[in-house]
Protein backbone atom coordinates (compact mmCIF):
# COMPACT_ATOMS: atom_id res chain seq x y z
CA UNK A 1 0.00 0.00 0.00
CA UNK A 2 1.55 3.27 -1.09
CA UNK A 3 1.62 6.01 1.48
CA UNK A 4 -0.49 9.06 0.69
CA UNK A 5 0.85 12.24 2.21
CA UNK A 6 -0.25 15.87 1.99
CA UNK A 7 1.90 18.62 3.41
CA UNK A 8 -0.38 21.59 4.15
CA UNK A 9 2.05 23.30 6.51
CA UNK A 10 2.10 27.09 6.34
CA UNK A 11 -1.33 27.23 4.73
CA UNK A 12 -4.28 28.94 6.35
CA UNK A 13 -8.02 28.20 6.38
CA UNK A 14 -9.58 26.87 4.16
CA UNK A 15 -6.60 25.69 2.07
CA UNK A 16 -5.70 22.57 4.12
CA UNK A 17 -9.29 21.30 3.71
CA UNK A 18 -9.46 22.17 0.00
CA UNK A 19 -6.12 20.48 -0.69
CA UNK A 20 -7.11 17.44 1.39
CA UNK A 21 -10.34 17.08 -0.57
CA UNK A 22 -8.37 17.17 -3.81
CA UNK A 23 -5.74 14.73 -2.52
CA UNK A 24 -8.40 12.25 -1.31
CA UNK A 25 -9.63 11.86 -4.86
CA UNK A 26 -6.47 9.98 -5.78
CA UNK A 27 -6.50 7.83 -2.63
CA UNK A 28 -8.13 4.42 -3.16
CA UNK A 29 -11.08 3.58 -0.89
CA UNK A 30 -10.02 2.17 2.48
CA UNK A 31 -6.56 3.69 2.30
CA UNK A 32 -5.24 6.48 4.48
CA UNK A 33 -4.20 10.03 3.64
CA UNK A 34 -1.80 11.63 6.10
CA UNK A 35 -2.14 15.41 6.30
CA UNK A 36 0.21 17.72 8.19
CA UNK A 37 -0.65 21.35 8.88
CA UNK A 38 0.40 24.26 11.08
CA UNK A 39 -3.02 25.94 11.25
CA UNK A 40 -4.44 25.40 14.78
CA UNK A 41 -7.96 25.79 13.34
CA UNK A 42 -7.44 22.67 11.24
CA UNK A 43 -7.92 20.45 14.33
CA UNK A 44 -11.61 21.34 14.58
CA UNK A 45 -11.94 21.68 10.81
CA UNK A 46 -10.68 18.21 9.90
CA UNK A 47 -13.01 16.68 12.50
CA UNK A 48 -15.94 18.58 10.97
CA UNK A 49 -14.84 17.76 7.43
CA UNK A 50 -14.71 14.03 8.21
CA UNK A 51 -18.07 14.10 10.04
CA UNK A 52 -19.73 15.72 7.08
CA UNK A 53 -18.10 13.72 4.28
CA UNK A 54 -18.16 10.32 6.03
CA UNK A 55 -14.40 9.84 5.72
CA UNK A 56 -12.91 8.40 8.90
CA UNK A 57 -10.58 10.51 11.02
CA UNK A 58 -8.35 7.68 12.24
CA UNK A 59 -6.11 9.94 14.31
CA UNK A 60 -5.55 13.60 15.10
CA UNK A 61 -2.37 14.54 16.93
CA UNK A 62 0.23 17.23 17.20
CA UNK A 63 3.94 17.52 17.72
CA UNK A 64 5.01 21.05 18.57
CA UNK A 65 3.38 23.35 16.06
CA UNK A 66 2.65 20.66 13.50
CA UNK A 67 -0.73 18.93 13.44
CA UNK A 68 -1.09 15.47 11.90
CA UNK A 69 -4.28 13.88 10.67
CA UNK A 70 -4.87 10.39 9.34
CA UNK A 71 -7.95 10.24 7.17
CA UNK A 72 -9.29 6.95 5.85
CA UNK A 73 -11.17 7.35 2.60
CA UNK A 74 -14.57 5.67 2.53
Amino acid sequence: MAEHVLNAEGLNCPLPILKAKKALKSVPQGEILVVTSTDPGSVADFAAFCNQTGNELVSSSNEGNVYRFEIKRV
Binding site: G10, L11, P14, L15, L18, K21, F49, T53
Partner: protein, 170 residues
Protein backbone atom coordinates in the same frame (compact mmCIF):
# COMPACT_ATOMS: atom_id res chain seq x y z
CA UNK B 1 -25.77 11.91 -12.16
CA UNK B 2 -22.21 10.56 -11.92
CA UNK B 3 -21.94 6.74 -11.80
CA UNK B 4 -20.05 6.64 -8.52
CA UNK B 5 -22.75 8.52 -6.58
CA UNK B 6 -25.53 6.40 -5.08
CA UNK B 7 -29.16 7.50 -4.81
CA UNK B 8 -28.82 7.58 -1.05
CA UNK B 9 -25.93 10.02 -1.30
CA UNK B 10 -27.87 12.23 -3.67
CA UNK B 11 -30.83 12.30 -1.27
CA UNK B 12 -28.62 13.11 1.67
CA UNK B 13 -26.67 15.81 -0.12
CA UNK B 14 -27.09 19.21 1.51
CA UNK B 15 -27.15 22.37 -0.54
CA UNK B 16 -26.27 26.00 -0.03
CA UNK B 17 -26.77 29.20 -1.97
CA UNK B 18 -24.92 32.47 -1.48
CA UNK B 19 -25.84 35.87 -2.87
CA UNK B 20 -22.58 37.76 -3.42
CA UNK B 21 -23.07 41.54 -3.49
CA UNK B 22 -19.68 43.01 -2.62
CA UNK B 23 -16.63 43.32 -4.85
CA UNK B 24 -13.80 44.54 -2.65
CA UNK B 25 -10.80 42.36 -1.79
CA UNK B 26 -11.77 41.90 1.86
CA UNK B 27 -15.43 41.14 1.15
CA UNK B 28 -14.50 38.65 -1.58
CA UNK B 29 -13.23 36.25 1.10
CA UNK B 30 -16.33 35.19 3.08
CA UNK B 31 -18.35 33.95 0.08
CA UNK B 32 -15.44 32.17 -1.63
CA UNK B 33 -14.15 30.56 1.59
CA UNK B 34 -17.58 29.28 2.60
CA UNK B 35 -18.50 28.15 -0.90
CA UNK B 36 -15.29 26.22 -1.58
CA UNK B 37 -15.24 24.65 1.89
CA UNK B 38 -18.88 23.60 1.59
CA UNK B 39 -18.25 22.09 -1.84
CA UNK B 40 -15.24 20.20 -0.42
CA UNK B 41 -17.65 18.82 2.20
CA UNK B 42 -19.90 17.43 -0.55
CA UNK B 43 -22.49 20.20 -0.25
CA UNK B 44 -24.03 21.40 -3.53
CA UNK B 45 -23.24 25.09 -3.81
CA UNK B 46 -24.71 27.86 -5.94
CA UNK B 47 -23.24 31.38 -5.95
CA UNK B 48 -25.30 34.23 -7.34
CA UNK B 49 -23.18 37.30 -8.17
CA UNK B 50 -25.02 40.59 -8.30
CA UNK B 51 -24.21 44.30 -8.19
CA UNK B 52 -20.61 44.95 -7.06
CA UNK B 53 -20.14 41.23 -6.43
CA UNK B 54 -20.13 40.73 -10.19
CA UNK B 55 -16.62 42.26 -10.30
CA UNK B 56 -15.36 39.03 -8.69
CA UNK B 57 -16.15 37.14 -11.90
CA UNK B 58 -14.12 39.37 -14.22
CA UNK B 59 -11.26 37.69 -16.07
CA UNK B 60 -8.99 40.54 -14.97
CA UNK B 61 -9.26 40.74 -11.21
CA UNK B 62 -8.04 43.99 -9.72
CA UNK B 63 -9.57 43.96 -6.29
CA UNK B 64 -9.02 46.73 -3.77
CA UNK B 65 -10.06 47.44 -0.26
CA UNK B 66 -11.55 50.68 0.99
CA UNK B 67 -11.04 52.16 4.42
CA UNK B 68 -14.28 54.07 3.92
CA UNK B 69 -17.28 52.64 5.76
CA UNK B 70 -14.94 50.20 7.44
CA UNK B 71 -14.65 51.71 10.93
CA UNK B 72 -13.52 48.52 12.68
CA UNK B 73 -10.61 48.03 10.30
CA UNK B 74 -7.20 47.65 11.92
CA UNK B 75 -4.01 46.52 10.26
CA UNK B 76 -1.22 44.82 12.20
CA UNK B 77 1.94 46.86 12.00
CA UNK B 78 5.21 46.32 13.83
CA UNK B 79 3.53 44.41 16.66
CA UNK B 80 0.78 47.04 17.03
CA UNK B 81 -2.57 47.56 15.36
CA UNK B 82 -3.06 50.62 13.25
CA UNK B 83 -6.62 51.89 13.04
CA UNK B 84 -7.90 53.07 9.66
CA UNK B 85 -10.40 55.82 10.43
CA UNK B 86 -12.95 56.62 7.74
CA UNK B 87 -11.48 60.06 7.27
CA UNK B 88 -8.11 58.78 5.96
CA UNK B 89 -9.92 57.41 2.90
CA UNK B 90 -10.02 60.93 1.40
CA UNK B 91 -6.21 61.08 1.28
CA UNK B 92 -5.06 60.07 -2.19
CA UNK B 93 -3.22 56.76 -2.20
CA UNK B 94 -4.50 55.53 1.17
CA UNK B 95 -6.80 52.86 -0.25
CA UNK B 96 -4.02 51.75 -2.60
CA UNK B 97 -1.64 51.51 0.35
CA UNK B 98 -4.18 49.60 2.46
CA UNK B 99 -4.71 47.20 -0.46
CA UNK B 100 -0.97 46.58 -0.78
CA UNK B 101 -0.67 46.00 2.97
CA UNK B 102 -3.56 43.55 2.88
CA UNK B 103 -2.12 41.62 -0.08
CA UNK B 104 1.26 41.36 1.65
CA UNK B 105 -0.39 40.09 4.84
CA UNK B 106 -2.40 37.51 2.88
CA UNK B 107 0.78 36.15 1.33
CA UNK B 108 2.72 36.19 4.59
CA UNK B 109 0.03 34.33 6.54
CA UNK B 110 -0.50 31.57 3.98
CA UNK B 111 -4.03 32.76 3.24
CA UNK B 112 -5.38 31.79 -0.19
CA UNK B 113 -5.58 34.51 -2.83
CA UNK B 114 -8.97 35.27 -4.37
CA UNK B 115 -7.91 33.99 -7.84
CA UNK B 116 -6.83 30.76 -6.12
CA UNK B 117 -10.17 30.39 -4.31
CA UNK B 118 -12.12 31.23 -7.45
CA UNK B 119 -10.22 28.56 -9.38
CA UNK B 120 -11.03 26.09 -6.60
CA UNK B 121 -14.69 27.07 -6.85
CA UNK B 122 -14.71 26.22 -10.56
CA UNK B 123 -12.78 22.96 -9.97
CA UNK B 124 -15.26 21.93 -7.27
CA UNK B 125 -18.15 22.34 -9.72
CA UNK B 126 -19.79 25.17 -7.84
CA UNK B 127 -22.68 26.57 -9.86
CA UNK B 128 -21.89 30.21 -10.61
CA UNK B 129 -24.64 32.54 -11.79
CA UNK B 130 -23.99 36.10 -12.97
CA UNK B 131 -26.90 38.52 -12.63
CA UNK B 132 -28.19 39.51 -16.07
CA UNK B 133 -29.60 42.83 -14.86
CA UNK B 134 -26.25 43.86 -13.33
CA UNK B 135 -24.41 42.98 -16.55
CA UNK B 136 -26.78 45.31 -18.42
CA UNK B 137 -26.64 48.01 -15.77
CA UNK B 138 -22.85 48.22 -15.64
CA UNK B 139 -22.43 47.51 -19.36
CA UNK B 140 -20.42 44.35 -18.81
CA UNK B 141 -20.17 41.56 -21.36
CA UNK B 142 -20.11 37.84 -20.74
CA UNK B 143 -16.77 37.75 -22.61
CA UNK B 144 -15.26 39.84 -19.79
CA UNK B 145 -16.24 37.17 -17.28
CA UNK B 146 -14.56 33.83 -16.54
CA UNK B 147 -15.73 30.75 -18.43
CA UNK B 148 -18.15 28.23 -17.02
CA UNK B 149 -20.69 30.63 -15.58
CA UNK B 150 -24.42 30.87 -16.12
CA UNK B 151 -26.37 34.05 -16.68
CA UNK B 152 -29.61 34.38 -14.77
CA UNK B 153 -31.94 36.57 -12.80
CA UNK B 154 -33.83 36.75 -9.53
CA UNK B 155 -36.21 33.94 -10.51
CA UNK B 156 -33.27 31.63 -11.29
CA UNK B 157 -31.86 32.36 -7.86
CA UNK B 158 -35.20 31.89 -6.08
CA UNK B 159 -35.79 28.51 -7.67
CA UNK B 160 -32.45 27.36 -6.27
CA UNK B 161 -32.94 29.05 -2.90
CA UNK B 162 -36.26 27.31 -2.21
CA UNK B 163 -34.49 23.95 -2.57
CA UNK B 164 -31.38 24.87 -0.55
CA UNK B 165 -30.73 23.94 3.07
CA UNK B 166 -28.66 27.08 3.64
CA UNK B 167 -29.13 30.48 1.99
CA UNK B 168 -26.67 33.28 2.70
CA UNK B 169 -26.49 36.92 1.66
CA UNK B 170 -23.03 38.47 1.76
Amino acid sequence: MPDNVTHEEMDNAKSMSIIVTKGTLDWAYPPFILATTAAAMDINVTMFFTFYGLALLKKDLDLKISTLGNPAMEMPMMGMHMAMPNIVSVIPGVDRMATTMMKNLIKKKGVASIPELREAAVDLDIRIIACQMTLDLFELKQEDMIDGIEIGGAATYMETATKSDINLYI
